[in-house]
Amino acid sequence: MRIKLLAFGIARDIIGGTEKDFNWTGEATVGGLKEALLKEFPAFVDLASLRIAVNEAYAEDETPISTSDEIVLIPPVSGG
């Protein structure tokens, strides 16, 4: 599967940009994407958390991903 990722905060630093095309061969779900990301970018393992937002909402590992979805990497938030 091939999608466009958006990334903020330290996730942007890790993948090397705000936007990035990303391919993986595993499951077309949030869980599958996470697994592939951790393999490609081992620095994610060191984060306190990594959540994935699909279409502007937090998604569970089981959530399916399609190419039209807006997929965003959400490292630990620190607003306020």
């Binding site: 502007e56 620190s78 306020g80």
Partner: protein, 141 residues
């Protein structure tokens, strides 16, 4: 009675008086306002400035979810949340949360709930800039 709401992510200085004017209500006897500011140090280390960024559309939606839950728990008349993004100097305001309720206890509880939850769920990120480096706050355990 419907709760009135106003949520903004802004790149310019936040306006306390304006926020108060949008939160007060003739049927509310209490307004609690939390103002989060940029401290000059963190864990004893001098901070030079902060940089905030947000995933804005989702940040607004997540603040909306927090406010709705707060509105289920407390009798909120009006709630306003403004969060700043961009570069902030020491002493500048990062966030203002204002809540009006009929009586005071609910205003404190609701305001505290909103800032506590905002810090856990709203996609906003803060980088602390020191004299000798920088760090994304809370990124690592």
């Amino acid at each position: 009675m419907k709760m009135e709401k106003e949520f903004k992510i802004l790149a310019h200085p936040l306006q306390l008086e304006e926020i108060y004017q949008h939160t007060k209500s003739p049927s509310a006897g209490a307004v609690d306002i939390f103002v989060g500011t940029v401290r000059n140090q963190t864990k004893g280390k001098t901070v030079v400035r902060l940089e905030f960024e947000s995933y804005k559309p989702m940040a607004i939606k997540e603040i909306e979810l927090i406010a709705e839950e707060a509105g289920r728990r407390w009798p909120i008349e009006k709630i306003v949340v403004h969060h700043r993004v961009g570069t902030l100097q020491i002493g500048e305001i990062a966030v203002i949360i204002a809540v009006s309720t009929p009586h005071r206890r609910a205003s404190f509880e609701a305001c505290k709930y909103v800032i506590d939850t905002l810090k856990e769920t709203v996609p906003i990120w803060k980088k602390e800039i020191f004299e000798d480096g920088e760090v994304w706050v809370a990124a690592h355990p």
